[in-house]
Symmetry: D3
Subunit: 144 residues, 6 copies
Amino acid sequence: MKTLGQMALFLALEEEEKVPELMAEVEGRGYRALRGKVGSMNMEKVVAAVETAAKRQGLVTGGYREEHALYHAVLEALNGVCRGQLALGDVLRTVGLTFSVVRGPRFPDEKSDGAWLAVVLYGTIGAPIKGFEHEVIGLGLNHL
Amino acid sequence: MKTLGQMALFLALEEEEKVPELMAEVEGRGYRALRGKVGSMNMEKVVAAVETAAKRQGLVTGGYREEHALYHAVLEALNGVCRGQLALGDVLRTVGLTFSVVRGPRFPDEKSDGAWLAVVLYGTIGAPIKGFEHEVIGLGLNHL
Amino acid sequence: MKTLGQMALFLALEEEEKVPELMAEVEGRGYRALRGKVGSMNMEKVVAAVETAAKRQGLVTGGYREEHALYHAVLEALNGVCRGQLALGDVLRTVGLTFSVVRGPRFPDEKSDGAWLAVVLYGTIGAPIKGFEHEVIGLGLNHL
Amino acid sequence: MKTLGQMALFLALEEEEKVPELMAEVEGRGYRALRGKVGSMNMEKVVAAVETAAKRQGLVTGGYREEHALYHAVLEALNGVCRGQLALGDVLRTVGLTFSVVRGPRFPDEKSDGAWLAVVLYGTIGAPIKGFEHEVIGLGLNHL
Amino acid sequence: MKTLGQMALFLALEEEEKVPELMAEVEGRGYRALRGKVGSMNMEKVVAAVETAAKRQGLVTGGYREEHALYHAVLEALNGVCRGQLALGDVLRTVGLTFSVVRGPRFPDEKSDGAWLAVVLYGTIGAPIKGFEHEVIGLGLNHL
Amino acid sequence: MKTLGQMALFLALEEEEKVPELMAEVEGRGYRALRGKVGSMNMEKVVAAVETAAKRQGLVTGGYREEHALYHAVLEALNGVCRGQLALGDVLRTVGLTFSVVRGPRFPDEKSDGAWLAVVLYGTIGAPIKGFEHEVIGLGLNHL
């Protein structure tokens, strides 16, 4: 994991039991990070789940500037999930996602780069029928 | 790596030296896979690079059916890269991407699932100035 | 009617009384076909109506592979109907559509082409006021 | 204010107390105009608010032709507000907008240009939290 | 053919030899119509081909109002052809299209409806390899 | 002019002779601002013109963080100009634009709000024929 994006990607992709080790590595390099889960046919619930987790765990401050940065990172990640049209239930599909948020410079050794946010959404999208789904991923990055 | 998508994601994300080992694991489970690189401001060159690699290495047959499946998987992956509008040079940005293509069932143990294709594009997008760029990823899946 | 797409287009476009004759011709060439109707401000109901009809009448099997192919064909057809943004009630418009689904090769004489699906949505879009509407059409094709 | 678009833009942008003077100037040149307000997380309410105001104040006739022209002008203005995806509540955001509609030729001195409509939406977009918002604007023009 | 849209659709869909008869029927009802062909990887050439044909054959006057109406009808039809992103060569695909333009009321018996334009684009889209293509259709309607 | 967005909007909208006075007012409140012009069928030239002006006049530093903020503000403004699809020459249209960039807090009295960027693009879009064009506007805001 040599970059901000990779940290967020591996945190969302790896299995549950590897998360503590990954998290320790990420935080050891001076990054802040979290991992969570959300499943819904309502896209706004996906946005809300990531925003709430990031605020509660202190990855963004309570002000509007950082909320604005986070919001756009989440929307960009949703583009990878939706691939063409930001819509879930409106086009009769649902998602089951693991998400990660990581805060820090784009590269561990470039502190002068300032703070950036990476948001990853990884999981499945499909019809509201068990097993009728396939994998999707989205990554959004923004400066803080 | 428990799924088709994860195989493609890790193949594109991991460092060069881990690729042979990953490839062996993927092929050991009965999957076909490849990894390549492309950088361009012309989006059609990204499409062409993935299609050419997949045909040359036999991941898709020479016919139209499989080309159609692959093409749409590439476009879906490009949505994750472009996040909102499929355009590179037209909006003054360029990409440097590692791509992977994997062919097989969605899950290693479900042979009855038939063949699917996963395409991952991972790398950087940004202005045509060195270092003015950040990470992006896209994943497209399609049935063959 | 020399192609898969034309069969689906004429089936959706022609008047009710010509449908049995068209259907006979289409089926006589080895194709499977259906025609139905749906009207709604909820786009997911359009998707559901086409999927339900196709499953009930056996144009697609009950598995995910064919459902995936059908789903994307429906979404592509919706792009022709919505022309720019997949949204109905959210932008205060409603549709009244006749739809058709046809299954078979792209051309009647090319059995080696395998099975494809064509979905046509044809009818009107407009404000929720009688007569405040105009015609729209959408065609989606996908390999099975 | 030398053009149709500028009349609509200044009418929406200027403070309340300047509106009567602006309106007098616009109407003095033979244009019809209105200004209103709407706030919502439901995009269809924004569309409905502009359409209702334009019909009530006689800027469009009650028929479908002019309603069609107005509808597309509103959608085009919404593209400026939404910047990429026509969605409000679905992506957890809300708007507070002042809108204007102006009817007349593109330029005051070119009566031969016939009637056009300009729709402006100006205000704020943001999270459903007070102050967590920034300005947006959209302008849609269409021939009548 | 009971509507403006159907006239344009059948004119574009039917075989060459049926065109004179269709054209006679359409013109007999007081409509103006044309049919043409265009093939290209450059989307602007598709737009230009339809606009040039419509102007030359007098379906639109030389002024901007009618050009504006036609232009938007062509763009709407292109949405049906492109299904999600208005791009051809940029995503490595090419089209071979028959197009039609019809001018008149939405219904033959409603002269009070005024003039509308219907534009149909029908043909194939695909890779720049012979036979690697499938059918597409797009319909755009606009008031004049 | 009570807000960052209004400063950018009036700077782009007002006539040439009023610009020095507006600029003085804007700078008197502690904001940095510029106004420029660009006309092209190539969208990347619009992006480049705004970026070059902002860098030359010191509204953004030479680093990537601020360039990233500016780039997204320009793309958001282009959405208002293009209204649905970021494309100019590809869909046979050209723009003639006055642009403005303003740097400062969202409101003059809230210094704690930190620095934001507002980009406005205002002018005409249309066919490459003189007079075949109408007004458009776009506003993009981003935190620095």
